[in-house]
Symmetry: D2
Subunit: 419 residues, 4 copies
Amino acid sequence: MTIFEQRESNIRAYARTYPTVFVTAKNARQVDENGKEYIDFFAGAGVLNFGHNNPHMKAAMIDYLQKDGVLHSLDMQTQAKAQFMQKFTDVILAPRNMPHRMQFMGPTGTNAVEAAMKLARNATGRHNIVAFSQGFHGMTLGALAATANEYFRQASGVPLLHVSHELFDQEHDHEAALAALDALGNQYRDPSSGIKPPAAFMVETIQAEGGVNVASKAWMQKLEKLAKEFGSVLIVDDIQVGCGRTGSYFSFDDMGIKPDIITLAKGIGGAGTPMAMNLVHPDLDKHWSPGEHTGTFRGQNLSFVAGEVALSYFDDNKLMNEVMEKVKTVRDALEPLVSENSAKELRGKGLILGLDMGSGDMAAKVVQRCFHKGLMLGACGSGGRVLKIIPPLTIPEADLAEGLDILKDAVRFVMEEAA
Amino acid sequence: MTIFEQRESNIRAYARTYPTVFVTAKNARQVDENGKEYIDFFAGAGVLNFGHNNPHMKAAMIDYLQKDGVLHSLDMQTQAKAQFMQKFTDVILAPRNMPHRMQFMGPTGTNAVEAAMKLARNATGRHNIVAFSQGFHGMTLGALAATANEYFRQASGVPLLHVSHELFDQEHDHEAALAALDALGNQYRDPSSGIKPPAAFMVETIQAEGGVNVASKAWMQKLEKLAKEFGSVLIVDDIQVGCGRTGSYFSFDDMGIKPDIITLAKGIGGAGTPMAMNLVHPDLDKHWSPGEHTGTFRGQNLSFVAGEVALSYFDDNKLMNEVMEKVKTVRDALEPLVSENSAKELRGKGLILGLDMGSGDMAAKVVQRCFHKGLMLGACGSGGRVLKIIPPLTIPEADLAEGLDILKDAVRFVMEEAA
Amino acid sequence: MTIFEQRESNIRAYARTYPTVFVTAKNARQVDENGKEYIDFFAGAGVLNFGHNNPHMKAAMIDYLQKDGVLHSLDMQTQAKAQFMQKFTDVILAPRNMPHRMQFMGPTGTNAVEAAMKLARNATGRHNIVAFSQGFHGMTLGALAATANEYFRQASGVPLLHVSHELFDQEHDHEAALAALDALGNQYRDPSSGIKPPAAFMVETIQAEGGVNVASKAWMQKLEKLAKEFGSVLIVDDIQVGCGRTGSYFSFDDMGIKPDIITLAKGIGGAGTPMAMNLVHPDLDKHWSPGEHTGTFRGQNLSFVAGEVALSYFDDNKLMNEVMEKVKTVRDALEPLVSENSAKELRGKGLILGLDMGSGDMAAKVVQRCFHKGLMLGACGSGGRVLKIIPPLTIPEADLAEGLDILKDAVRFVMEEAA
Amino acid sequence: MTIFEQRESNIRAYARTYPTVFVTAKNARQVDENGKEYIDFFAGAGVLNFGHNNPHMKAAMIDYLQKDGVLHSLDMQTQAKAQFMQKFTDVILAPRNMPHRMQFMGPTGTNAVEAAMKLARNATGRHNIVAFSQGFHGMTLGALAATANEYFRQASGVPLLHVSHELFDQEHDHEAALAALDALGNQYRDPSSGIKPPAAFMVETIQAEGGVNVASKAWMQKLEKLAKEFGSVLIVDDIQVGCGRTGSYFSFDDMGIKPDIITLAKGIGGAGTPMAMNLVHPDLDKHWSPGEHTGTFRGQNLSFVAGEVALSYFDDNKLMNEVMEKVKTVRDALEPLVSENSAKELRGKGLILGLDMGSGDMAAKVVQRCFHKGLMLGACGSGGRVLKIIPPLTIPEADLAEGLDILKDAVRFVMEEAA
């Protein structure tokens, strides 16, 4: 028995999907204790946008350690934090005329979501938050109430309150989705509907865990309009699809909307180093009093250091242009699987793509075969039926091509086996 | 205006208590951008038990980075994680005959607490968890319901449910505290009391944020007995006072109790590197199904690396013996303040000591003056009236002495000024 | 100052709408202390289906009092109760092949609703109950959660939980209403929708307080189908529109549905004598254990006596036929108000009709003028904009005609005044 | 099979305890369909303070019916209501200098409690209400949350929120009960206790269903003081023990306290005719807006008529003096049962007495035997171990003596059988 079998909790999950012991990793490749290499189409669930052990980040972190830089600082002021904040302002906020302030919290996405929910509730004096079917927002009790998946929800052991779930934009019936928002607005206007406007609407523009469901610009704009009409906060949860994943820094950059709060985590710390940060409009941020939402690890200076390096990828359009080329590579490779009926649908935006296998069993078999052949890949969506393709944005074209070949072969193999 | 004033959220707090910008740190000293040094009696709110930039940890982390060790791994298996788990088993669990399993989650204490609450509720099929007055367990909605402080609670914006608060052990009236537990037992036994046995009792043996309140062995044993009688899970939250803080690895090592779940965070990652881990008795752990409580940053390998080094401090009794000597130094220095009525009371266990000033205003003035004189110190308890002394366990005797002198002078100065 | 002004609670409401002191009443006329007579189109909010002081009931009650019949009996067995139950079985249940059992509770509609909600939740092990926008189900905390009107809801002072509100059938867009039920079914089928099938659907076939909104047969049938598919209890709240109000005993007699629970109150006691009773399918009823829902006044024998007399009106079709003729009289009188644009719409079913004035102010003025002219009438719907016409079913044609004349004149007067 | 077996809900309970069919009743005797007479020590669970078919009330009700008095009036003004209110003011409120206003609601005790809870929550802006172990306040969801008995609570099917239960005064340890209130006060004063002052304290001075537990004057006064200090509403639920039961109109007349709200039902309608009424201090009552808590049957004029007659019993002290003599009769008869160890304890106040048998099984056997021998009696308290003696206040001495003989014999018989 390994130490994991002996002593790790029964809750472990990826340890079962990828049954090996990893040792090293570099950009889009991970190596296990037997020296076997795996191409990574999973990127730490969307964390490693800039690759494993990105050399610039690595150098900066080693340098910071060598000079005894402060590592842990709660929300005290440090030089590394100042530099990160200045860079974020210069590269991301200022060019977009975003007046938002940065709030740091315990370095988990769920903590960012909890902070956003608190603020929205306190600022509006309302309890209910509207989230959406298939949405994923985290595992702690507040965020979990907004997470739609029943497997996660039942594990709470208590009723999940003060969040209601509405229909997300419908890939195949945008008109129905727009009409549903209109109907919701009518109910809010009617004092006898039993339903009141919420403290906030919290939405992912692309539901990653939910199955790579992409909201349309029209739907997002109607949602923003609804929020404004009823004084509800608009929270965009960009934790998995922000930080360049879609070919632009924010997933909503092309949508003409102005969220009140944007939650960020995963990619923001650069090297898989933990950080969570909300961008909060100053009109909302003033509702915070000092220390109302604390957290021991909210000042991780290695994350500020690596995160600052990550932001330099947005000094110009080079990486984002490369991303769009890689998207083309992926689509060209995988669309034939759909035309030949080996998969149901390919959808996505930027470098998050979902190959819908139509069944969780089939998807699981593809994941397993890919892993055997040296490709790491995750499944998502209802019943885990969608293969999620989210390699590092920095993946070399050769690795991307090799990975896509493995994937295509695996899909066809599994389909043939099932036939 | 600094970047912090321009762009950081209004919620920032320690930035106001310690109004400077820190750059480097080493063991028990931190240096700001003006080169001013501060002795650290705060240790990152109990995180930095082994000092800032501990040289052994620093070396191990640099080495790990240089050889491209996997940094981010969710709950996959890595070599660094295996080594950490083996070391924890060998040094901590096996010598105590503890069969507990290790559960890793998003690296915040609040996440560890949320996971413990979920498991207790699921395993028992009950909703309510009993926490205690003055207790602190975190900021996300589930944990926040267990946190007693009203300032934190009101910020939730929704009712905090499914947790009730009972009286903690009473420093000056242990009999009353024991009687209160008996009364509680009587209510559980009565089907017409309106009160049912809880899913869990969740308790800190020493309430750190709550004002350095120390539970007695007799009270803890009665609490354990109550939990056993009613099939309730006993959760000890050792996040702030575990990992050697009290002169032994767990704060309850001398109490003859066997908690079902022990929550750990803060010191467990060694270098201020984020980690959270629950120790769960196998009989409870089997109630987890794979992936029921996930988290992006639950596999932080730099934390495993530094955390493994930290565990080597428990290979023998050297550090723990030093700690007990330092406790004597602190008590000898500060007890006169109580005898001379400059402070109300000195209490604590091991190297967490609380100097109760009787008033939050007075305590705040002492903190401010200490900072001015080069000592970092935090306040806790109702209204912030207790000065909390939690230096790194590795603090050199000279720094300790110098810090204590600053503290004594500040207390006397503030008292005289007020007279 | 009258005793009411001196000593009655500020909460009194109808006392303000009808500012006089009533003394006697007979069938559809009420007389105040000045001898002024009022025709009654309000019937005690739908209670007095068989008129004030119905002579048969009066005689039976006096007789019962004179022979010292047991008046108050909780849920003990009495002769009067046996006779009522036998009559209800013979006249109502048996002819419809309804196997339902009768449950008596505290004599308020809200208590009937609370009992139904408890049973549905206990039998299914689920929390949530689906009610509908504009629905009214009572004022106690459980029933109030199902009541849609915000004025009533906010008065609870606590969050109203475990009920969600869906769109009721839409008068002017039945297709949308049917599609909304389909969409709901889709969400129940999806384990990642964040929404689970409810313990029960609770619905009024005609929303009386909600503005006289009438559900279509197709919508009710689809709702029943949804309930069956997901194992949810179907509760029809027939408190205001049952007991003959629609021209048949139950409001859903013409709909081809079989509700699991039917809540009754208001008219069931016959003479305005309080009674509440649920009809519960035996398969559900077996989930009750003895005494799980008690109530001091659940055995009101004067109500059984008068209620038995009321049931004799259903021995044959005479009254129901008269009702349908009176409906014609009302519609003929009021439809011109709509054609001439003095009112927006006339809707209803049987002898509950709603004249939608389009504005609560206008409706209030009509109510006030009618009262001045000797007609009692109530307003309902969002903002009180709908005049509700619910005279005793036994109202003489002459009184009906006189009342309609007053109403028509008042509507036209108010419209002209506003022009 | 009787009609009850065929068609009444499985929930019926007293029908099982008293398995016969009752026909007539007069003062303290009830007659079944076989002509068998039963002496009534149960009085409709405390409703029939003035006896079954009280001749004065009967005459007044018949007269009212004969002259076509308005029977059902919601909260409109009627002559009968005015007369009741004037009488209540003259006889009860004015002599006590009570400025309280009368609020009428749906005629159930639970409805009175729900209204009181709403008002307290709205007026204070707080959610939580403190009720007490063993307390009983009703069956609808709000009141049920305040009811302590688990058998009733579990039937709700949802979590019961926003009420916490504290220890009631302790018969055998008044000091502990007073200390518990002090401890509660300390927790309210501490912003880090996790507990905030409630919207209201709701208390029965004598817990009737809870086992005839009598609060001491000192404890009630301390409770009132606690309420005043923290701005909490003091609600005395006098539903079962008010209206003369204790030898004075209110159960707290001898306690020197001034409750903000007093809930009344059961005896207030006089003849078992349903009524519920809260007495509300004007400073609180002003927080009600018109119609915020409605109810169809809140204007029951037969209840006003009979209730007015009931109030005439308080024109002088005659009945109350008789009650105190009857109390002596009961105590003299039953105390020997305690001295001889046939019962554990006799307790009570006025004409509500509890004979604690120490076991629910024993008590049930006594109830059964008494019924067989012609005495109706109920059990209460944890597990139903307390025999509750609450005859009509008007019970003739001869009936009282005969009933007591049956009771004594039954107790001894059951004890001997068990020996």
